[in-house]
Symmetry: C2
Subunit: 334 residues, 2 copies
Amino acid sequence: MRVILDAMGGDEAPRVTVAGAVEAARGGLAVLLVGREAEVRAELARHPGAASLPLELLAAPEVIEMGEHPAQAVRQKREASINVAMRALKEGRGEALYSAGNSGAVMAAALFGLGRLEGVHRPAIGAVLPLLEKRCLLVDIGANADCEPQDLVQFAQMGAAYMAAVYGIARPRVGLISNGEEATKGNALVQATFPLLEQSGLDFAGNIEGKDLTRGAVDVAVCDGFTGNVMLKLGEGLQELMVALLRRTLSEKLHYRLAGAVLRPGLRAALQRLDYTEYGGAPLVGVRGAVFIGHGRSNARAIASGLRAAAAAAQAGVVEKLASGLRATLAGAT
Amino acid sequence: MRVILDAMGGDEAPRVTVAGAVEAARGGLAVLLVGREAEVRAELARHPGAASLPLELLAAPEVIEMGEHPAQAVRQKREASINVAMRALKEGRGEALYSAGNSGAVMAAALFGLGRLEGVHRPAIGAVLPLLEKRCLLVDIGANADCEPQDLVQFAQMGAAYMAAVYGIARPRVGLISNGEEATKGNALVQATFPLLEQSGLDFAGNIEGKDLTRGAVDVAVCDGFTGNVMLKLGEGLQELMVALLRRTLSEKLHYRLAGAVLRPGLRAALQRLDYTEYGGAPLVGVRGAVFIGHGRSNARAIASGLRAAAAAAQAGVVEKLASGLRATLAGAT
């Protein structure tokens, strides 16, 4: 098992990506780093003993920056790290690919370099949210800002196949994100999607709200990529806000400060527990390969977790199972 | 100053609404309770000394339930508490109205009973979010699931006028909720709205994400009612999840339990601080009256806070200022 890492992807690449790869490799995972050779080597040199770890380097002279137009950049910069990494995945030089770079570019490079699974109209990005007792895949979190009802149905099918393949959930329960639980709620897109999901053969829980999501009512929560992205970013913002509020509370009084010092390790662990980049990562579903997208602000630990999650999903045969799950669903639906 | 309360609105009405009215009245606020006379009187009788408080009762024999079709129910049940309350507001029997009932019905009853402010196409529901250092009005949080770009521009104008009137912010900064900060991001609606907001004469901050919102980057955050409702419900769910996680952490070890006991009052205050129903409430903007909507699950304290917020907004002359603000904006835009 080897994971291909876009070493140039992310706000602080390649410093953070290399540090993450070293951390994962120290745990025994083989990583193929793709990026500008001199820069990656210089970063590797900063980690004592890196030379003896299962790390290899594949040179890619170009880089796609966060601000670039994804599809254009992917077409023009053929030797960009994400394109070279995608080709390496296609050639079997690794079993999964992880990038914390421009997510639109990862998507475009995957479409361009790997292609879609049979029957897939639009691939989507999922995020495995770590909840209290279980995990939930939220899909789409940003690949498709405007969707048709059929797109949401396919996200549901792919999401269910993903949760079955990676987490062994025999019949994943699927919810449709809406502005109320009643069947009549929703914007035009959701209202048109609802009956299609009822007839899809999936275990459809109906419309769900954010609190159903966080309570673990479903295994897969479906929405358009605009809504999913807004939700994910709001979650990050609220977590930040709560930490700030907690910090302020703990500094209010001397006895709070003392109690806070006692609790610090527990609180830190609890917050990490909620960080989706640390658990399961964000799979790109619907393409012919196991591709995972990390947050641009990922730190070394998040990169290492992402690499491990990618390896675990590939180990579970996620792409083959997703493809066969989709074939079964498509056959059943007709 | 007197606030009209829909005593039958909310999951546990009239028990909780009456308790909230009693709490507000004990603080000196006059409240006109509208609802089924016998039920409201029976609830009032449970509060010792209620008879000497500034509370009055206006009988309304019918009730609109949470599950009913809003517009239909409002038309058919002319004597429903929300309709009777709206008429009382129009007749000047109180300066503001608060209801924790079916929010679609409150909206319909307001349109029907009060009408729109001049130039307003679609009224919207805002929520004043309590952040760390400031407040931010998120609008629309559910009145209009599908919107046109012009609707979002008007939500921005009304939101800015509201924050100017109630919180004295001379030139409120307005952000457009999107799936990324770059000007090119957004779904079709957001992309079409962006240039209109740029030309609106408002202090437009461009596209914002959830974390900009929670960091207090803007005074008004604009989105369609589907997105806003999903955001609000997700916020509730995440807060619930974090409390559960905190509770679990605090029970893990004996010394955590002890430290947790020390911190409990501070933590409770911090969480209350984030509850938007406790601070500022949710104004219905764009109608000819000061109407506030509460959460169906509001407890007595939240009802009391909502009544006080409604009174404060009416005291600030919110409807007149919103009307004149809109007139100025509309004049400036042409």
